[in-house]
């Protein structure tokens, strides 16, 4: 009785309204858009799912997964030293400050943080100015001239997009790695050093294996968040579509809600597989 009283409203809201909406979305993906009439045909069909597996859509998915993977790798490389420093070297006071310094971007305005890079990367912005000042503007031009990842300016290139993705999701990688390293007993590292291991060997054989659950946990966030994002590819980059953007335009401009619904299950499926792998690496114990 007490339980029913407590649970009634949350159950109705989260499972009824929210769960119901998700279920309805799945159902919609089995309808199809009648492209002549522009209306939705509500007889069950697999036609929409067949439309999903066209080359164009699959290359959008591949591009998104490629970006999500490279963003995840870069985040690991950048986050590891910071997390290691916080966990092993910082004094109590410094640690509190550094953890806060990682947390604040996590909670502060996502949109504004994306916007700040529009200022930084624009053709007359600070990055170009900096390179010019150092007299290596030619280097930047050479990088931008690279096929595929380059572009007319940083803010409309894949490189720019990549920098922004890493910047936005980096805190999600630092915190779980730091938590995992925090749990490595100091004696492990000392023992390894006492036994004559070079610091690099200690890192490779002792620290890294113990950091893996944290890395896997962090990568769930960086991977999943990149997979579903559509704001960053809209604001930065050459506006070639990512999964999020494709879903957005299918449901909006194209009015093809069934296809958008089917597409929405691509990141869910990819994340399902990813979580399965991450679970095997011990990611859930590190969360």
């Amino acid at each position: 009785m007490r339980l029913a009283l407590l649970l009634g409203v949350p159950l109705f809201w989260m499972v009824g309204v929210y769960g119901g909406s998700l279920a309805a979305l799945l159902v919609q993906s089995f309808f199809r858009l009648d492209s002549f009439a522009g209306t939705i045909d509500r007889s069950p069909t697999l036609a929409t799912w067949r439309d999903l597996f066209t080359d164009a859509n699959m290359s959008v998915a591949a591009r998104t997964i490629g970006m999500a993977s490279s963003v995840t790798l870069a985040s690991i490389v950048i986050a590891l030293p910071l997390a290691y420093f916080i966990a092993r070297h910082a004094s109590r006071r410094t640690k509190a400050v550094l953890v806060l310094a990682v947390m604040i971007p996590l909670w502060s305005s996502y949109l504004v943080r994306v916007y700040s890079w529009k200022l930084i990367l624009s053709a007359d912005g600070i990055v170009n100015w900096f390179f010019e000042r150092l007299g290596i503007g030619g280097l930047l031009d050479a990088v931008l001239a690279l096929p595929a990842i380059g572009g007319p300016s940083l803010s409309v290139s894949y490189i720019g997009q990549f920098l922004v993705f890493v910047y936005i999701w980096l805190p999600y990688m630092v915190l779980p790695i730091q938590a995992a390293l925090e749990r490595v007993p100091r004696s492990f590292i000392e023992a390894s050093a006492d036994l004559g291991a070079h610091p690099a060997t200690t890192f490779r054989k002792v620290v890294w294996p113990l950091a893996i659950p944290g890395v896997a946990a962090g990568s769930i966030f960086t991977f999943s968040l990149t997979l579903g994002d559509y704001i960053i590819p809209t604001v930065i980059g050459d506006s070639s579509p990512f999964i999020g953007l494709a879903i957005y335009s299918y449901q909006g401009v194209a009015g093809n809600l069934p296809l958008a619904a089917a597409f929405a299950f691509v990141p869910i499926a990819v994340m399902g597989l990813y979580l399965f792998g991450a679970k095997r690496l011990g990611a859930f114990e590190a969360l």
């Binding site: 407590l6 649970l7 409203v9 949350p10 159950l11 809201w13 989260m14 499972v15 309204v17 929210y18 769960g19 909406s21 998700l22 309805a24 919609q28 950048i78 986050a79 030293p81 910071l82 290691y84 420093f85 092993r88 070297h89 550094l98 310094a101 990682v102 947390m103 604040i104 971007p105 909670w107 502060s108 305005s109 949109l111 504004v112 943080r113 916007y115 700040s116 529009k118 200022l119 930084i120 624009s122 007359d124 912005g125 600070i126 170009n128 100015w129 910047y167 980096l170 805190p171 579903g228 994002d229 559509y230 704001i231 604001v235 999020g244 879903i247 957005y248 449901q251 619904a261 929405a264």
Partner: protein, 262 residues
């Protein structure tokens, strides 16, 4: 403690700078006199864009809407999150695990999926888009932070407190009001502040549940996609950073104090 190598220090510092320099640059740009491009360095500095932004009716309306939505979403999320935490705490029932999954799902799934699901449900239910549809979307993903904070606090609350209160003859409501609520107050402040910040800043779900109303993030986003009034956008961006900073620091303070006292 061993001293860190120079390379490690430099790499750690580099990561911190990467996370913070962009916002510092935003501060600078809010004062630039250049109004047509993102030219660096700014030709000269001025505070006049703050006045222009303040007197802009669209921005005021968007700010007002965002604050109202965030407030109502926060209240709804706190109620739902506390109720759920109360039910999940110390009771086992069928579907308990499934319920906690549903609570975190809106922040675990990409926002676009939550957004599109709610939008098609709103259309199916033949509701018109309004203030309340935005609130429904926001409250749905804010429940998670409220729930997480309250349940964490409850798990550290000794059950004997409740039993003692009941033994002394307090009714359920009295026990809640005089024993449990004071215990929960800091968790409610933390959860509430985080929910407020989350809602105030949300853009993705909002695009799908807002119809043609403009919250502040939607206003910013639309001026990013079709650049107009760059200096005013810079000022609004800075204001958003400052406005979300306050609840976050308050939340941080409260959760730190709660940890230290327990």
């Amino acid at each position: 403690m061993r001293t860190a190598g120079l390379g490690l220090k430099a790499a750690a510092l580099g990561a911190i700078l990467y996370l913070h320099v962009p916002i510092a640059i935003l501060f600078l740009y809010a004062f630039t006199t250049e109004d047509a491009s993102f030219k660096f360095p700014p030709p000269s500095l001025t505070t006049r864009w703050f006045e222009v932004a303040w007197n802009n009716a669209d921005i005021r309306a968007a700010l007002g809407l965002s604050l109202r939505v965030a407030f109502v979403a926060m209240v709804v999320a706190l109620i739902l999150g506390t109720l759920t935490a109360g039910a999940v705490w110390r009771t086992r029932f069928f579907g308990r695990e499934a319920l906690s999954l549903f609570i975190v799902l809106p922040i675990a799934l990409p926002g676009i999926i939550t957004g599109i699901a709610l939008r098609s449900a709103i259309n199916l239910a033949d509701l018109s888009f309004s203030f309340w549809t935005i609130v429904i979307g926001h409250a749905t993903f804010c429940v998670a932070v409220a729930y997480n904070n309250v349940i964490a606090r409850l798990r550290r609350t000794s059950p004997s407190l409740i039993e003692a209160s009941m033994d002394l003859g307090a009714r359920g409501w009295q026990t809640f009001r005089h024993v449990l609520l004071p215990q929960l107050s800091s968790a409610l402040v933390t959860g509430g502040m985080l929910a407020f910040a989350l809602s105030f800043d949300e853009i993705i779900v909002t695009t799908f549940t807002a119809g043609n109303q403009q919250t502040l993030p939607i206003w910013i986003f639309s001026s990013l996609v079709r650049p107009r009034n760059r200096p005013v956008t810079n000022v609004v961006a800075l204001a958003v950073v400052v406005l979300t900073f306050v609840p976050i620091v308050v939340a941080q303070r409260f959760s730190r104090r709660a940890e230290e006292s327990s």
